[in-house]
């Protein structure tokens, strides 16, 4: 596909403020970049940092978290909890070589449809400048150094019939979902 690259943003919006604001933006027929995918949560406090990184490792170029303004959380203080996580997460991401622009926390009240539009457009512009993150592609690139040997062995196995232990590579991004083992 010759389509020009557009950043992909996964957004986690709280049900009461930012999701509603995005609804308002819709009802008001505001126009904004189409590359954002909103996932509704009840509160920004539900945003597990794992969600942010899971989105990035699965190919998102940016993650936007939207919650109620400080003091306005429907659940009193869930947004503060997200804010505290975000402060350290930003540092961790920086240390891991992920640009600051890729993960953003915004307070958007239910009345601020225009802010939804402004933030999404602004973030899209910033990400256009920063460029693709492409973690799945990077992982693939990294793993070329080991897939070579694996393929060699697999080829050998196919030839030397009878060997049934073709090592199936466990995809690194998908954590091993081992069953509970009590010993």
């Amino acid at each position: 596909m010759t389509k020009e690259w557009r950043p992909r943003i996964v957004a986690f919006f709280c049900n009461w403020c930012t999701y509603t604001a995005a609804d308002l933006a819709g009802v008001s027929r505001m126009k904004y970049a189409s590359n954002v995918r909103v996932i509704r949560l009840m509160c920004s406090g539900r945003v597990d940092p794992q969600f942010v990184l899971d989105a990035l490792t699965r190919g998102a170029d940016g993650v936007l978290i939207g919650g109620c303004h400080p003091g306005d959380c429907h659940y009193a203080e869930g947004n503060y909890k997200m804010l505290r996580r975000f402060q350290l997460l930003k540092r961790l991401l920086r240390d891991m070589g992920i640009e600051e622009e890729r993960v953003r926390l915004e307070w958007i009240s239910a009345a601020e449809g225009d802010k939804v539009k402004a933030v999404i457009n602004e973030m899209t512009d910033q990400l256009l400048k920063v460029g693709p993150l492409g973690l799945p592609q990077r992982f693939e690139e990294w793993d070329k150094e080991v897939t070579r040997l694996e393929e060699e062995i697999r080829g050998g196995d196919a030839a030397g019939a009878g060997c049934a232990c073709a090592a199936k590579l466990q995809k690194p991004a998908a954590a091993s979902k081992s069953e509970v083992a009590h010993v």
Partner: protein, 324 residues
Amino acid sequence: MSKPKVAFYWCASCGGCEETIVDLAEDILGIVEKVDIVLWPVAMDFKYKDIEAMPDKSIAATLLNGAIRTTEQEEMAHMLRRKSQYLIAYGACAHLGGIPGLSNQFSREHMLKFNYEDAPSMANPKKTRPQLKFADGGREPTLPELHHVVRTLDQVVEVDYYVPGCPPTPKLTNVAVTALLENRLPPKGSVIAPDIALCDECPRKASKPVNTSFTEFKRPHQKLMDPNLCLLAQGIVCMGPSTRSGCEAACIRGGMPCTGCFGPTSRVRDQGLKILSSLCSNVAPKENGEIDKVLEGIPDPVGTFYRYGLAKSLMRRKVNLPVK
């Protein structure tokens, strides 16, 4: 009936896991009685070609420790996988990448340069580096190549079970080996340790107040620690709440916080992010500046939260490093 064949192998590791085998003490005799050790480079002399000559699946179980860092380790992992019925990732490095996994914060060139040129203990005026090939009296010996990325065992070959820990405790090792010998095996892919966080068996569990919120974080050397009080209640980062139990809180009993070598529970995809989420949620202040001030007490989040788990984390490696 011949005794089942068992192999021990080490890749990128410190040798501590091998120590654990020895630490089985008398128990090892019982094991040795029941099995034939076909490979154990640290203790006995075996040749690669001997293993290569063995029929596929002829080894009952291989306990492999260490991360996969070089082409040789990669090759051995593949070969042992082929020769073994069960491949067990033994210890934190094989399970999670372990301490070697921390070098996923740096490029290969950076590591080589530091180790062969810049390290304060290094005397190498000619800046000689290991060569992949060299000529020696008409022969051309080769050395394995260092990979750019440190990997867990299961990022290279399929793994049947994991015995966690840095190193695994003799008790868990015994449990694993006994389970193998008696064929009482848990579902494939299991980590041979309880699927509950460490606090469950922590001697200081009861001392943690229910309303612990953090106004500062201190590192162990910065504080005179109360030997009985929960370390988190003292503002010391302890990974216990997000780490599998099974070690019987060895570090905490020794006066040091848990650093997470047993890895996450099965319900967690990224141990570091989960402890981050938990600790930060309970930071006391509400303003950015004050929050940051509290979090200054964690100067190196990657090193703190991914001491053993970086290679296995969602990001695996600092994402902007080269592979060339």
